[in-house]
């Protein structure tokens, strides 16, 4: 039994099977890629796993703990983290405020303490900000600390989204196109960060990525979705040679020419 398993997940929209009996298994600290043409169901899969949309069938288990019947915030507490395709930072808040929100899962003050403003609450507050400040340095965001995120370029927002998700200290982190909108040096920064997140922190990563060079260099295992179904799984080299995958990407008949 792997550390993180998705077993026969089914998500339907009306009559359409957006995710059809997809199963994935990830070991602790592994980096897996999730690829497929547009509309293959990659983001839908992540949405269903994080609990933002309902699934019709299947099981999701982290380290022996089934989470597929939990509400979204409970899954986050159980260690499922994610980033968003469009970054979804809080536009009217500063970078640091965005990051501190990520630490919510590990808050130490109670609601009553928050209302009364006890010394314990303010101590917890300082700790939360200190952790967010550390994350600022890791992602080279120090200079933008007090800037509202609404004014920042998309690549920077993607970094903020990732940093925010990390502050929740997830066990599984699903990244939705983490390098989109980035120049190559920024993308390299994120690739290095991903390797450290998996290697040093032991966080299991599932990455949707359109940039093949990025994902082929990063993931040890790649899962390919097409029309909601998983059509292939293997190492980057195996997947690249798979005729089904080539057909899905280049269209019917292309495989014979490849």
């Amino acid at each position: 039994m792997s550390y993180f398993t998705i077993d026969n997940l089914v998500v339907t929209f009306g009559g359409l099977r957006a995710v059809a009996n997809v199963s994935l298994a990830l070991g602790k600290g592994e980096i897996h890629g999730l690829i497929g043409p547009n509309g293959a169901g990659k983001t839908t899969l992540i949405n269903a796993v994080s609990g933002l949309i309902p699934h019709q069938d299947g099981r999701i288990v982290i380290d022996g703990q089934p989470v597929h019947q939990m509400l979204a915030h409970k899954r986050a507490e159980a260690g499922i983290g994610r980033t968003f395709q469009h970054a979804e930072t809080f536009a009217d808040q500063t970078v640091i405020t965005n990051l501190v929100a990520g630490g919510f899962a590990h808050r130490t003050s109670t609601v009553l303490q928050d209302v009364l403003g006890t010394p314990g609450k303010f101590a917890a507050e300082r700790k939360a900000f200190a952790e967010a400040d550390k994350m600022l340095d890791i992602f080279n965001l120090r200079a933008l600390r007090d800037v509202p995120t609404g004014d920042l370029p998309f690549g920077t927002l993607k970094k903020i989204d990732l940093a925010r998700a990390l502050l929740a200290q997830p066990r599984i982190l699903m990244l939705d196109e983490p390098t989109s909108g980035m120049n190559s040096s920024e993308a390299q920064e994120v690739i290095t960060a991903c390797k450290r997140i998996a290697g040093e922190l032991g966080v299991t990563l599932l990455i949707i990525e359109h940039n093949m060079r990025v994902i082929m260099g990063l993931a040890q295992m790649i899962h390919v979705l097409d029309h909601g179904e998983k059509i292939a799984q293997g190492t980057p080299q195996e997947v690249q040679r798979d005729p089904l995958v080539i057909e899905a990407y280049l269209g019917h008949g292309s495989a014979t020419h490849a």
């Binding site: 809080f90 303490q113 609450k121 303010f122 509202p148």
Partner: protein
């Protein structure tokens, strides 16, 4: 990392200190009418702060804020005059009763957003108005109900000045609590669900619980404000807590600045004092008020609270930089 180590005396602290000294000393130079008006300002600050947490921070619209004010006003007055409790026990109980109604309203509100939530809260407002008029044995019905001034250490706070100082102390406490909430995980959850409920959930924020807390807090602040209002004015009737009163608090937080405590304070003072200043226009005062409001919303759409940073920016000579203020960033 102690607070002392990072704490610096900034111009903001200086301004707050000056304001506090003014709030304490200035009334001594004025008469009873001004003490009454200043007390009304403070009460409106308390009530506006509550609504701003719910609407400005948590993003939940409410057109029944005056209902919670009414529940606090009638609850406190009833507990004092009919049950015989001390005002200092009855006031927080009035707030708690209002918070319970806030919780009750919160449940249907969990499934609704925007216009639909507005309509439900409007229904709640109508219901509360109806209940006040239909329960004359508790509320005095349409004829209203007298309320008395409390006593403190055996000394009745009959003068407007003495009651003003009590209200000032309670207002400062309310500001402190709101400041603490905004700068806490609870406040960040409010801001997060306003921005994106999806993101908030993936950061482990329990949507329903957070919204219910916001409704309860808003109702509690309004209930406390209502209890003080009844005692200040000395008489309450259902007309005090109608639709216009709810709308006035919405105007206060929009004019002052959404999601900002300073905004609530500035907006409440402006909207309490302005109608008094407009009395000279007699029958045109509502027209002038409306025109000022329109002009204001066109000229300063982010609220009065956005003016100071903009001026500061102008003075420091920066022409091209961030929009003057992140209206939720300041945390004050």
């Amino acid at each position: 990392m102690s607070e002392q180590a990072s704490w610096k005396f900034t111009p903001t602290h200086f301004a707050l200190g000056v304001l506090l000294i003014l709030a304490i000393a200035a009334p001594l130079a004025f008469g009873s009418y001004h003490h009454y008006l200043a007390s009304l300002c403070l009460i409106n600050i308390i009530i506006a702060i509550g609504l701003n947490l719910l609407t400005g921070n948590a993003g939940q619209i409410s057109i029944c804020h005056s209902s919670f004010m009414a529940i606090g006003a009638y609850g406190t007055t009833y507990l004092v005059s009919k049950v015989g409790l001390s005002f200092w026990v009855a006031l927080p109980m009035g707030g708690i009763i209002a918070a319970m109604f806030g919780l009750a309203l919160g449940f249907p509100a969990l499934r609704l957003r925007g216009f639909y939530l507005a309509v439900v809260t409007l229904g709640f407002l109508e219901m509360s108005q109806l209940l006040i008029t239909e329960l004359p044995s508790i509320t005095g019905g349409v004829r209203g109900m007298p309320a008395s001034r409390p006593a403190l250490f055996g000394y009745t706070l009959a003068s407007d000045l003495s009651f003003y100082y009590v209200i000032l102390a309670i207002t400062l406490l309310a500001i402190w609590c709101a400041y603490s909430i905004i700068n806490s995980p609870t406040g960040r959850a409010f801001d997060a669900i306003r921005n994106s409920e999806s993101v908030a959930q993936t950061l482990a924020m329990p949507l329903s619980r957070v919204k219910l807390i916001a409704f309860m807090l808003a109702a509690f602040f309004a209930g406390i404000g209502g209890g003080l209002f009844a005692s200040l004015v000395g008489f309450i009737d259902p007309l005090e807590f109608g639709l216009w009163t709810s709308v006035r608090y919405i105007i206060i937080i929009v004019v002052g600045g959404l999601g900002s405590i300073v905004g609530s304070v500035v907006g409440a003072v402006a909207l309490t004092v302005l109608p008094e200043l407009l009395r000279d226009f007699k029958e045109y005062n509502e027209l002038v008020f409306g025109v000022l409001l329109l002009a204001f919303l066109i000229l300063i759409p982010h609220g009065l609270v956005s003016v100071v940073p903009r001026i500061r920016q102008r003075l420091s000579g920066k022409t091209n930089s961030q929009p003057a203020i992140s209206k939720h960033g300041a945390g004050v």
